[in-house]
């Protein structure tokens, strides 16, 4: 994982070496049959890279990829016979048209997730299969479809790559370019946004990510890559057959990507090799090529049972041997929050006015109103009382039937969730939402990816936030290697970047020891002085609430039962009966 755009990782260097080998050596040593097999393997590796990044980076299963390849191939052939344009121009046009096609296909899919998304994309692939079977691919005939039986097609190749050997080199170069394009997107804003979307769409929206936009970008990129692959395949074969682009082939490519390891370039290459080279080998040996399905099935079982990261993941584990030494865990006693605390710096207020939320027949929130003027306010109440629902109304995830929420007279109601983040709303979730695909610094950076600051300013701001929570030493640690406390600290860092106006923390002390909770309390107390933002805090640790919140709202069964200075609220008999229990509470 690396934030530098041009940094070459060891795995990346190995990939480039492999590409150079495939480009320079392979064409010299193999015959014409294998040249054609390897060219087709490279094309499918390119297409599979599109499926692989959608799956590994966004967690979306798209089963249209081979169908999109067919679209690219169709456009390529059509252009080839219609106008005498150079091969490259045709290839670029074919990719762009396929990209648009992919985006249109994505429209209904944007609201769907998981199995439903897979089904919709599979149906799209099925539709394409029928179209290809009915109208076939152009072979130089007349009319729009350009099909004429018995005609010998002529496919122009690039001037620099007329021979089969040169065309293999050409294909490997374009495929490498496609891999680098995906890797580039992954290292920039889209990659960070995708990682958050994969973690949780709600958390992504709360981090200011326009989920629809970045999903569309992903579909567009997969379409572009698929079109490129289809165009190249058309150039290799000169004629295409509908049987190559069946919906079942899309499923096969997806399954093999999982077998190979969707996170790695090597995994995608292994997938393409299994898909194209294994059947060719079997044919060569005089064995029925359908035997390859048995091999694929065994590979899939292997992946499901022993290799969650695919064959490539296993290879990498052996090669790298986890040499990295872990940095020591963050010690709560080493965190020193600034001494200036809770001095009120502005007169701004949060006004919650008559919020009402209904789920089915249940009133989750009934007429909740409060005017919060203090820098840090608490919200407490029994489990299921509606505290998180209230935060979800703030975030814009849940609509209130009536009433409004405004900060300094500005009504949040008109903004979408990611616009609220741009406005200055921050929140953490009950279950921390740290992306395990990103480093700590990248997790924080996501929050300010959409702001109009220079890259250097953003970097400095992330560093400041990490220094505030004492996580500087962990900046380059992967989210996957953090313990609960470090995840909570990263959440706080994420909340204080980019001029926040209102920060909502949902049970930030959950799962923390007393010492860690104390350190967290110090940090929360310092937030207002640091950023000028209001803080709303939900927690069940009443000591924490009593220590940091000047005023507290108590909700029970969706109804506010008390609101006022925290010490007064905590000694209110109604609150004791509903929430604290009968014992006295020292505040």
């Amino acid at each position: 994982m690396n934030t530098h755009l041009f940094h070459v990782t060891r795995s990346g260097a190995a990939g480039l070496l492999f590409a150079a080998f495939a480009c320079l050596i392979v064409p010299l040593v193999v015959g014409s049959f294998w040249l054609s097999v390897f060219t087709s393997t490279a094309c499918f590796a390119l297409a599979a890279a599109g499926t692989a990044f959608m799956y590994a980076r966004l967690g979306m299963v798209s089963l249209t990829q081979v169908g999109l390849m067919g679209v690219g191939g169709w456009v390529m052939l059509r252009l080839n016979y219609a106008y005498g344009l150079p091969f490259e121009v045709n290839l670029i046009l074919a990719s762009l048209i396929t990209m648009i096609f992919g985006m249109i296909l994505a429209l209904p899919a944007l609201r769907l997730r998981g199995l439903y998304l897979a089904l919709v994309t599979l149906m799209a692939a099925g539709g394409l299969e029928i179209i290809f079977a009915t109208f076939q691919f152009p072979n130089g005939g007349g009319g729009f479809w350009g099909v004429e039986t018995g005609r010998t097609p002529f496919m122009a190749r690039p001037i620099v790559a007329v021979s089969d050997a040169a065309y293999l080199r050409y294909t490997v170069c374009v495929t490498t370019f496609g891999f680098l394009l995906i890797e580039m997107a992954r290292r920039l804003n889209p990659g960070r946004a995708w990682a958050m979307i994969r973690r949780s769409e709600a958390a992504a929206m709360a981090a200011g990510i326009n989920v629809t936009l970045y999903k569309t970008i992903a579909f567009a990129l997969a379409g572009l890559i698929g079109g490129l692959a289809g165009g190249l395949l058309a150039g290799s074969l000169g004629l295409l057959d509908g049987g190559t682009f069946r919906a079942s082939e899309s499923i096969m490519v997806f399954a093999l990507t999982v077998v190979g390891g969707a996170r790695y370039w090597l995994g995608v290459v292994i997938a393409a090799a299994l898909f194209r080279i294994v059947p060719a080998l079997l044919n060569n040996w005089g064995v029925d090529a359908d035997l390859s399905f048995v091999i694929f099935g065994a590979g899939l079982l292997h992946a499901v049972i022993t290799a969650p990261n695919g064959i490539a993941g296993q290879v990498l584990d052996v090669v790298t041997k986890k040499a990295a030494k872990p940095t020591p865990s963050i010690d709560p006693s080493q965190i020193s929050a600034p001494t200036v605390q809770t001095a009120k710096t502005s007169d701004s207020t949060i006004e919650i006015d008559g919020i009402k939320v209904q789920f089915g027949g249940v009133l989750a929130l009934n007429n909740v109103s409060a005017c919060m003027a203090e820098p840090i306010s608490g919200i407490i109440g029994p489990n299921g009382a509606g505290k998180t629902t209230l935060m979800n109304v703030f975030s814009g995830f849940v609509a209130s039937k009536s009433g409004s929420i405004s900060v300094d007279g500005f009504d949040l109601g008109s903004l979408s969730p990611h616009q609220r983040s741009e406005w200055g709303l921050r929140r953490s979730f009950q279950k921390e939402e740290i992306s395990e695909d990103l480093t700590v610094a990248e997790n924080v950076r996501v929050q300010i990816d959409t702001t109009r600051q220079s890259a250097a300013d953003k970097k400095a701001e992330v560093a400041r936030a990490l220094a505030y929570v004492g996580m500087t030493t962990k900046a380059r640690t992967s989210g996957a290697d953090l313990n609960t406390f470090e995840r909570r600290l990263t959440d706080i860092a994420k909340c204080i970047v980019g001029a926040p106006k209102l920060i909502m923390l949902d049970e930030p002390a959950g799962g923390l020891s007393i010492q860690e909770t104390n350190a967290l309390g110090d940090l929360i107390l310092g937030i207002h002085a640091q950023t000028g933002a209001h803080v709303l805090l939900i927690d069940h640790d009443v000591d924490l609430i009593a220590r940091v919140c000047s005023q507290t709202l108590v909700i029970d069964f969706g109804v506010p039962i008390a609101f006022g200075p925290t010490h007064a609220v905590l000694s209110d008999p109604k609150v004791k009966a509903a929430y604290l229990g009968t014992e006295e509470f020292a505040s």
Partner: protein, 241 residues
Amino acid sequence: MSFKVIGLNVQSGGKNILTNISFTLGAGEVITILGSNGAGKSELVLGIAGVLKIGAGQVVVDGTDITAKSPDIVRAAGVAVVPEGHKVLTQLTVDENLRAAGSLRWHDIEANLHKTYERFPELADRKTQLAGTLSGGQQQMVALGHALMSAPKYLVIDEMSLGLAPLIVKRLFGVVHELQSQGVGIVIIEQFTDLALGVADHAVVLRGGRDKYNGPADILLANPEQLDEAYFGTGHKRTIT
């Protein structure tokens, strides 16, 4: 009759996460495992439950060695584990949840079900409600109910009060006390140190995978500075506000 952990090393990814942990839990005793995040508390639970690899040492229950045995053998030996985060089968009703958990001991399922409902009258009122629609506290009761359906002799509870309101936490600690007085040996992992030390006979404080304190709980309760030292080591001085 005892639950013994003897010189246990728990490994993950080929490395020792916990080194040389020992304690003995008798019937009707409570041991609390404390420590900051990353100290190895959950790994200890997973090691006992046979999920993580054991490098050295033994877990012995009433003379039966259950070291690194599969979960069904651990449970058959009389040990039930309540995992962190009130895990219930959300799409099943309360009754179905408890019956599913009791299916390993099907011959006395009705008796155990009756006892569990007696212990949690809140659940008896909601037998047909989907577990996913319960409040967090009620879900934790179902999670505890899962464990109680096997009538365990020893109970290991991970982060019992996580995300629960004080009223519910008190209610659940009351249940722990009840079980203890009925002779169940209990290991609890808890973020609210004072509550845990209040019910426990014995405490183990973990730091960096080793036990920095292993002794009577009331000593720690009476001497917060000793608890602090076990958490952080001697290098730090920190006052708890």
